[in-house]
Amino acid sequence: MRIIGVNREPSWLIFELFFPLLPICAFAFVYKSMNAPTDYLGFVILGGAMTAIWMNVLWGMAAQFFWERESGNLTLYMLCPMSTMAVLIGMAFGSAFSTFFRVIITFLIGKFLFGVTLHVASYFWLFVTFILTIAAVFSLGMMMASFFLIYGRDAWNILTVFMEPVFFMSGFYFPVKTLGYPLGALASLIPITLGLDSMRQLAFALGPETAFLPVKTEVAILVVLTVVYLAGAKYLLNKLEYLGRREGRLTLRWQ
């Protein structure tokens, strides 16, 4: 449904693809203006590509319940004999279409506008870290979605407000090692932090110099995070759906 909706409104091409690339370019220009090594620009490009995925999970999945409730669809979902988690994953995959294109275009910009080149140390581990990062991020997204079952505009605003702090803490535009170990450890609770750090280590020549933790350690932590967030999502979705129903908040609109 989301794919069809998106395709029937061609203006999405501008807003979902073109505009989100601008801040990425801006951050790349920052390094360029400092005459930093090209790999640093690559760090930004990779961070920018992961931003697209993070935003998809945040707005295409977690916050989607907000719009569903506003349009009255949430009640219909709740009435259907299907898993809420399946609905959420479906939604995220629906908008994965535009996300995929954005990731591709981000890399093309990196390659052709900023001359970024990859030096992949291990394609296998790069693939593993990418998949694990996605799994952990999706699980976290589902956990966040549960809050939209009882909260409306306030949860929406909190999500908006924490965008920049997450960009900062997760090291979207600089290696998380720069934050120092205590802050970096805290930031590792957001799966994209370690995912990015591993992928930078594996994809860029200067990556290993900026490593926060060894790749294999980061992979192990990502596995743990996936399991914990998945269990948390299941528990919270059930719990908050029950609360929402008890307090009549599943149908509270126009907040």
């Binding site: 505009r153 509270l252 609109r253 126009w254 907040q255």
Partner: protein, 334 residues
């Protein structure tokens, strides 16, 4: 008497699904109406007939594709800034305010957009809240209100600016029977007792509501005005026959056969319940045709539950003109 609304060959088209092929959907086609000041004018028509499109054009929300529309003497095309201070609109069955503001705050805010000073605005809000039995909800945020209460607030929003011309698009949708009755009474009273003439343009799905409230009615279908007169005259004009309501347990009936019975002027039907009970409305030229209808139904092997000879109603006139019942688009007739 001054003219509140006048349209000359008013038309509106939209691109339909065949847009790529240049396909056009005529929402309104050559509509000519003239509504004098100080009356309640009804627009009756099935879904998609063009009622809302007409109201949207007259309320300056939409531009016509062709023709002309004058509201309070001004052209909707380029004199909309003169029209807006004297009109307002209430649509039923939708959201109508900022959920996190209270009822009173929402209403006050709209008065500010009309340039009404706060003191008289608050006085008027208070009066209307009392009339609509909503005083105790004045300080409640509207996302905490029931659908009916929200609709009442929306209704007050329409009147709070004391418009000269008010568009009511299904205004009682979502209201319970009592509230709807109160609302109708209020509108009629507002028009009758106003110091300056007030005009109401009303669309409704409730035939009785139209019959009770409207001084004049236009029946609209497929974007065209089929008839326009007082409810009484419409009934009289179209009442070339006797109306019968017949209820049968008769799911797969022979509509064509019934229609062809000599003496049947018009015929429509609708499903009454899940068991397949059908209500048929016949307009007959003479009583003699009734015997043939009963014979036909019986010979098809079905039993008649109820037969009722009815007064010729507005709905009968509607069926005769439009070819189907207002509340049920699946029926047919001739």
């Amino acid at each position: 008497m001054a003219i509140a609304i006048k349209t000359n060959d008013l038309s509106r088209t939209f691109s339909d699904d065949g847009e790529k092929k240049g396909g056009l959907f005529w929402a309104l086609r050559d509509v000519n109406i003239e509504i004098p000041d100080g009356m309640i004018f009804g627009l009756l028509g099935p879904n998609g007939a063009g009622k809302t499109t007409l109201i949207k054009i007259l309320s300056t929300l939409l531009l016509p594709s062709a023709g002309e529309a004058l509201v309070a003497g001004y052209n909707v095309d380029n004199e909309y800034d003169k029209i807006r201070p004297v009109i307002n609109m209430v649509s039923g069955g939708e959201n109508c305010g900022y959920g996190i503001l209270t009822v009173a705050e929402n209403l006050w805010m709209f008065t500010q957009f009309y340039g009404i000073p706060t003191k008289p605005a608050m006085k008027r809000i208070k009066e209307l809240l009392e009339i609509m039995n909503l005083t105790e909800k004045a300080d409640t945020k509207i996302n905490k209100l029931s659908t009916g209460m929200r609709q009442k607030m929306n209704f007050i929003r329409g009147f709070v600016t004391d418009p000269k011309i008010l568009f009511l698009d299904e205004p009682t949708l979502g209201l319970d029977v009592n509230a709807a009755r109160e609302t109708r009474k209020f509108v009629m009273n507002w028009v009758k007792t106003a110091e300056e003439p007030k005009t109401v343009i009303l669309t409704t799905h409730y035939m009785q509501e139209a019959d009770e409230m409207c001084d004049r009615l236009a029946i609209i279908d497929h974007g065209k005005i089929l008839a326009e007169d007082t409810p009484r005259s419409l009934k009289k004009q179209e009442s070339g026959g006797i109306s019968y309501n017949i209820t049968v347990g008769y799911k797969d009936f022979d509509a064509e056969g019934l229609r062809k019975i000599p003496g049947v002027a018009s015929f429509a039907h609708s499903v009454l319940d899940e068991q397949g009970m059908i209500e048929m409305v016949f307009i007959l030229q003479t009583d003699a045709a009734l015997a043939k209808i009963i014979e036909k139904i019986n010979s098809d092997g079905f039993s008649i539950n109820n037969i009722q000879k009815t007064e010729f109603t507005l709905e009968d006139a509607f069926i005769k003109l439009v070819g189907r019942r207002l509340s049920n688009g699946e029926s047919d007739a001739r």
